[in-house]
């Protein structure tokens, strides 16, 4: 009897051992490998997005005086002012809002490249290490034609530079900002066409950082708004914003009465994650600098989202820039964009 029990125990033990070693253990190891693999892949994706956010190039077309010897075609200069290398792939030449030409930067028949003063022989796209300067001579376009174009430089991370606004292929002669304008209208100015909106799920913004550059917004959705603001203070002071900076909006409701809604400023990290605006870590805008302000919160200092109207119509918006200049309270109200809800 004892022998049979032993036999049964041995057989059962063998079966359990078979199950453990041939199925359960490999499955556990497989899950573990997959989890490690997924983590590695996520890191690649996050690193890429982080690098996208850190790419910083100063891009402009050179004036005729800056190019020696003089040429009969436009010259673009890109300086890597960021902390990571940037590889440039293409030039976008845009005429009357249409993409007229898209030129590969490895093609030296159409362009000349000089990296830190040394001519590149072509065949490979140029990589700008931090601090490097690239000059691109666009041989395919004459100076006369260049007046009709604006341009972008595209990096291999899928970023168009300049990130904000566009640059003409021939710089305009007068770029001076009329200083007395800021004495009359106030120290902050909007980059009007940088207005964009984001979908906000209560945690992060999509698509970050570009958003939807549109003045038409879907009804009933939870959104955030973004716009670049420039400091043109006539006394060249730094502006510090507080949590009461917000965008406010009147819109047509169901009756004749106009309804009001507010979207307060929030903080956003490099991945588009939203957090309540922290007055202890305020957004500051130095003189002649720009900052992207994002408005999403229903209340000051929170990250709770706000909805746009659930029925179609038009919204009339204002921007209230609130904070301190030189430690003194400051508030400026700027008439802002009109929005259509569809």
């Amino acid at each position: 009897m004892f022998d049979r029990r032993c036999q049964a125990g041995v057989v059962g033990g063998i079966i359990i051992a078979m199950l453990v070693f041939s199925i359960i253990l490999p499955l556990i190891l497989y899950y573990q490998r997959m989890a490690e693999y997924n983590t590695a892949q996520a890191e690649i994706g996050i690193k890429y997005l982080e690098e996208q956010a850190r790419e910083m190039l100063n891009v402009r077309a050179l004036s005729l005086d800056e190019v020696t010897p003089s040429l009969d075609c436009p010259v673009i200069e890109a300086v890597n002012v960021g902390s990571i290398p940037v590889t440039l792939k293409r030039i976008w030449l845009i005429k009357s809002s249409k993409v007229d030409m898209l030129i590969d930067l490895s093609e030296i028949d159409l362009i000349d490249l000089a990296l830190n003063g040394e001519n590149l022989t072509g065949g490979e796209v140029p990589t700008l290490q931090p601090g490097y300067t690239l000059r691109i001579t666009v041989k395919i376009i004459s100076l006369e034609d260049a007046e009709n174009y604006v341009f972008y430089l595209e990096s291999d991370r899928g970023i168009l530079h300049p990130r904000r606004g566009v640059q003409p292929l021939i710089p305009s002669e007068s770029e001076e900002f009329p200083e007395n304008l800021s004495e009359i209208l106030g120290p902050t100015f909007l980059d009007f066409f940088s207005f964009r909106w984001y979908l906000y799920d209560g945690r992060s913004l999509t698509p970050w950082p570009y958003g939807y550059e549109s003045f038409t917004i879907p009804t009933g959705s939870t959104v955030a708004f973004g716009v670049y603001v420039c400091n043109k203070d006539p006394l060249k002071r730094t502006i510090r914003l507080d949590e009461y900076t917000h965008m406010w909006m009147y819109y047509s409701g169901s009756g004749e009465e106009l309804k009001k809604s507010e979207f307060y400023i929030v903080g956003v990290d490099t991945y588009g994650r939203v957090y309540p605006y922290d007055p202890d870590k305020p957004i500051t805008i130095d003189y002649d600098q720009v900052a992207l302000l994002v408005f999403a919160a229903k209340d000051p200092g929170s990250a709770r989202g706000n909805n746009v109207p659930s029925s179609g119509g038009v919204g009339y918006t204002n921007l209230l820039i609130h904070g301190f200049v030189d430690g003194l309270p400051f508030s400026q109200n700027i008439p802002f964009v009109g929005i259509t809800f569809t």
Binding site: M1, A8, V11, I15, M18, L19, S22, I23, I24, P26, L27, Y30, Y31, M34, Y37, N38, Q41, A42, I44, G45, Y48, L49, T87, K89, R90, W92, I94, S97, K98, V99, M101, L102, I103, D104, S106, E107, D109, L110, I111, E124, V125, T127, Y152, E154, D156, R157, G158, I159, L160, L199, P207, Y210, Y212, E213, S214, T216, P218, T342
Partner: protein, 218 residues
């Protein structure tokens, strides 16, 4: 004592042992087979989920430039130097986190891929190469795409585009640059949605969705 017990069992003992052993082995095999099949199913589902997760992390869609009717979109895969990218253009929207697809956009937009020749990129029109059955299109491993609106329009297939993406030396990953040209305003419900699809086995999985703004006028 042992002798007495053995003598009581007599000649039937070896037969009963063989039968008992056979039954135990059969049960053991059945149990083993059940667990093995469950493990195979679980590992397949895990492999599919891992593949979808990998693609979700490695596909980056960037809306580079637009002017109302034209949109230039870069679809980048970070994980490889050469890949086939499968995508479709539909009319839809997210409702409570669920992707609703109302219609295809084949008649309302032309899709071009920008191809490189002699330094300049030119528009190369591509057409939907194939249609895939809606009942095999999934938003994740357990969730088929809600296809009620499409079936209401008599559609049981969704047209998809395939494009080979090849990267030049010295850069990361591979990408395709698309030019989507809308030839008709989009009115009513829904937004143009670019959906990136990956075939795994005989099923298709939506790994990324990029919502585009409406085109209100031409």
């Amino acid at each position: 004592m042992m002798f007495k017990v053995r003598s009581k069992l007599g000649q039937a003992e070896p037969v009963s042992i063989v039968i008992l052993t056979g039954v135990v082995l059969a049960i053991a095999l059945a149990v083993y087979g059940y667990f093995a099949s469950q493990a195979a199913i679980a590992s397949y589902r895990q492999r599919v989920q891992a593949e979808i997760a990998k693609l979700k992390f490695n596909i980056v869609v960037s809306d580079l430039y637009s002017n109302g009717t034209d949109r230039y979109i870069l679809i980048k895969r970070l994980d490889t130097s050469m890949a086939r990218i499968t995508f479709s253009l539909v009319l839809g929207e997210f409702y409570g986190g669920t992707l609703l697809v109302y219609n295809t956009l084949t008649d309302m937009a032309q899709v071009y891929v920008l191809t490189y020749s002699g330094g300049l990129y030119t528009d190369d029109q591509i057409s939907a190469a194939q249609s895939i059955p809606l009942d095999r299109l999934y938003t994740s491993i357990d969730t088929p795409l809600y296809s009620g609106y499409l079936r209401g329009r008599g559609l049981t297939y969704i047209p998809v585009y395939y494009q080979e993406a090849v990267e030049k030396p010295g850069a990361r990953g591979c990408d395709i640059l698309l030019h989507i040209k809308f030839n008709s305003p989009i009115t009513g419900s829904g937004y143009p949605m670019l959906i990136v699809i990956e075939p795994i086995g005989d099923e298709y999985y939506i790994v990324d969705v990029y919502q585009l703004p409406k085109v209100s006028t031409l």
